[in-house]
């Protein structure tokens, strides 16, 4: 990660660290059962595409097997159904062909995917458990911190708030014959605090707030901004998260939404979110430059 950040940073390319997918919290040390957070990785993987389009280099820190940029568009397919065997003259006697009609938009997706691979601007990093995630987030944050305000954090992963400390975890599978299950979980320390204060203090940091109860959403987003002193909270409600979000900062609230008509045209809310955030990032970098200039003069 450090090399990736250095390479792109030295060319003046902005770098965004995207976290995506849910974390897994084991209940046993030889794990059969675990606590999981609902997240397919749709938001993070879609956002990665739009950041790449906007010219960013992307560290994509994602849950193993969660949605991935570009291939996410075909996750409902059984790929074998898109292939067919045709007789051929080669040694196996068969050639495998693609039923292109079953993969709408595949030519454009392959073009974008190919040019993204060529550019070397996507670095995928995988996690499974909460503890993987926490270690990798810290490593990534330290890797991009040298880029100063050119670095962005887009923390879309659904990170567990709770865990069981290794010392309190049973070694073996919990036996169902022992009766009802009583689990006590500790709170996970909030990583946003050291991230903003120590690991990458000059970066532009965006966290997410997902609630099921719309009435407490904005209040909780504001509280997060006050607690962690970062730049932006993207606030959303579980049921409407694909068509409506609020961009909350210390000074304003911007509503972004995708209309039904736009939806039928394939417009995604992530396109609007990234457009908004890239503009804010630009002005954040500009403001810092001005401040620095003012201090020097």
């Amino acid at each position: 990660m450090a090399e990736f950040a250095r390479d792109h940073g030295s060319r003046g390319t902005r770098v965004v660290l995207i976290t995506s997918g849910g974390t897994k919290v084991p209940l046993e040390s030889r794990t059969v059962r675990f606590l999981d957070n609902f997240s397919s990785g749709r938001r993070g993987s879609a956002s990665a595409e739009y950041f790449l389009q906007a010219g960013y280099a992307v560290i994509f820190l994602h849950r193993h097997r969660s949605m991935y940029p570009y291939s996410r568009r075909y996750t409902s397919h059984n790929w074998l159904d898109t292939l067919r065997l045709v007789p051929s003259s080669d040694s196996s006697g068969h050639q495998v062909q693609v039923e292109q009609s079953q993969l709408p938009g595949i030519v454009r997706v392959l073009q974008e995917y190919g040019s993204m691979k060529e550019s070397g601007r996507l670095l995928p990093v995988e996690f499974n458990t909460l503890s993987d995630y926490l270690h990798l987030l810290q490593a990534a944050a330290q890797a991009v911190s040298s880029l100063g305000s050119n670095a962005m954090f887009y923390l879309a992963a659904a990170v567990s708030d709770f865990y069981i400390p290794a010392s309190e975890m049973p070694e073996h599978k919990i036996q169902s014959s022992s009766g009802p299950l009583q689990i006590t979980m500790k709170m996970v320390p909030k990583m946003l605090s050291p991230l903003v204060k120590d690991w990458a203090p000059k970066a532009f940091v965006i966290s997410f707030k997902l609630e099921t109860d719309p009435s407490i959403l904005i209040e909780r987003a504001r509280k997060a901004l006050a607690t962690y002193s970062h730049q932006v909270v993207v606030a959303n409600v579980l049921d409407s998260r694909r068509s409506y979000v609020v961009i909350v900062t210390n000074t304003d609230e911007a509503n972004l939404s995708v209309s039904e008509q736009e939806e039928t045209l394939g417009v995604e809310i992530e396109e609007k979110i990234i457009k908004d955030l890239v503009a804010r990032h630009t002005s954040f970098i500009g403001n810092l430059d001005e401040k620095n200039l003012a201090c020097k003069n």
Copy 2:
């Protein structure tokens, strides 16, 4: 499912219900967090292929997005990496081709997949939550019960032993600010009991016992047989489950294993398990026929 069972049953085809993958247990009614059981669906999806090869019709009751027969062999691939664009004279100017060399064995897999689809002997059914699973299992059991001893249950899914009753579940996302999390979960009633006694009393029933501690494995398998009066427990230990299982019945214990040499040749333990169980199923059907004959005379 009833129609599928009737169609195949009327032709004398044996029908197996395979359950596969882990169940999800919500912690909130508008679910953000859930308890999950570790299971990729590898065992169930591989077994489905070998049952199809052995001539069975298969109801494949599996967790949404868990491994699927045939396509399971390529789950580590990003499919987009196996496709390439070549210039063509058609309207889009591009044709999509498959890099066959990146998909080892694909010709044979597509042949088997194609002939299986043609035979109509695979019925996929999906579940997500524990409650989906329990309802579908009962419906499936009742659908195949008319087949008597020609029906087999191969219960490989990792089903949660614990759940939170709807009445005790919080509606909204549990707030992390409320401090450490205390969860009390009730025990899930064992479905094996009504399945064996009421839903499909003549069927050949196989359950699985997965432990992390090898020292209690056989004892717990025997206890399950004594409790539920079904025919077979496939006992396995988490760490060695891909190379070693014990087939436990009331009268014997058979060890099945895959040697390192076999493994390099691509031999899977499921091939051996299904061969063993199909033979036991045949003799189970024969014995019942003899008993019936004895009663009639």
